[in-house]
Subunit: 209 residues, 2 copies
């Protein structure tokens, strides 16, 4: 059975129901903890599901920041200091990752027990034990006219990855790294591989590689 | 063991290796087949991993189109006709979904055997059998200064979802719907649920709901 919602149906829905539904529509989302500091050095950590690939040469990453969020420490810290880290989440720490979204009066590291890791002179803190850690620097921001969402672009200046998940061709085995993915607002999953497929050509169904 | 790549290391890497690595860094990505038609009515279908939530009221979706791609039929069709569909992919059809990215001379529906589904007077074609199908209309586009990537925003005008995956609170059970997620350029997975977590509050580790 198929359920249909028109645009009018959607706007008539209870806002909680609509928010749950619309947040699930794109499918599985990436999950990263973003580490920052304010100018006084106080650390902050927050979960984000809207981090995506913007380019490989130079390596660039994009993050969407929704408008009207009461607390936007992460965005303010990045605009102030230009520095942030992205850290994959594993099953061992996905509850703590979710918990960083609470309204902490203290640093989210201190509150949740996730451990702050400094690397060299990089300003923003990394999450100790995360299998993929990226050190990034602000490049530009753009505001979407339609609803004031902010798109922030960063350069990827440092990549730290657990070698067990780094393949010969540069790709990462996210199953081995135990990277967690999120659906909707609050549901967490690991990936179960179906297959890796050959470069697609007309006339020949792609085979597994 | 942790492997470190600096920005300089990255630019010295073989471009194939760098492209594989950087495309994996954000983690798991959503996978949607985008259905369009040109003004003559010829259908087109292409896989996208960069579709994301922009807002729930009104319901908006964003798509990133990379620059310098030889063929951008999907983008051109949307700019011409304003109409597109998003369709989740299941394990039964993930090879055909990947295959739509080949350089077909004919419609990707005809080439891969995926079945075109028209709904009412909606202009763009849906993918028959997809458990989540969205009918969308172009709202605006913006070009990123940094590398000419185009961010396209669409309104979600119709949602068709298999009822077995629609929960009482509006959220979707992507495990039941068998939605596929992609990592890097060519690797496909289904999700395996870890848990759904309560709204986070300071002082209390979030419990499963």
């Amino acid at each position: 059975m198929i359920r249909h919602f028109s645009a009018e149906d959607l706007m008539d829905l209870d806002s909680f129901y609509r928010r749950n539904l619309v947040n699930c529509l794109s499918g599985y989302k990436s999950l990263n903890l973003i580490g920052t500091r304010n100018q006084s050095g106080r650390s902050n950590l927050a979960p984000f599901s809207q981090v995506f690939h913007i380019g490989a040469a130079p390596p660039l990453v994009g993050i969407l920041f929704r408008p009207h969020t009461v607390k936007r420490d992460t965005l303010e810290n990045i605009l102030e200091t230009k520095s942030f880290t992205l850290n994959h989440v594993t099953p061992a720490h996905y509850k703590e990752a979710h918990w960083t979204a609470a309204s902490w009066e203290i640093s989210e590291f201190e509150g949740t027990g996730l451990v702050e890791e400094d690397k060299g002179d990089f300003f923003a803190p990394f999450v100790k034990g995360s299998p993929v850690q990226l050190g990034c620097t602000l490049v530009e921001t753009q505001t979407l006219q339609v609803n004031q969402t902010i798109l922030l672009i960063g350069s990827i200046d440092h990549i730290y990855v657990e070698e067990k998940g780094l393949r010969m061709d540069g790709s990462l085995d996210l199953n081995i790294l135990e990277t967690v993915t999120v659906s909707g607002l609050d549901e967490y999953h690991v990936g179960e591989k179906l297959g890796r497929l050959a470069y697609p050509k007309p006339g020949i169904l792609p085979v597994e590689i």
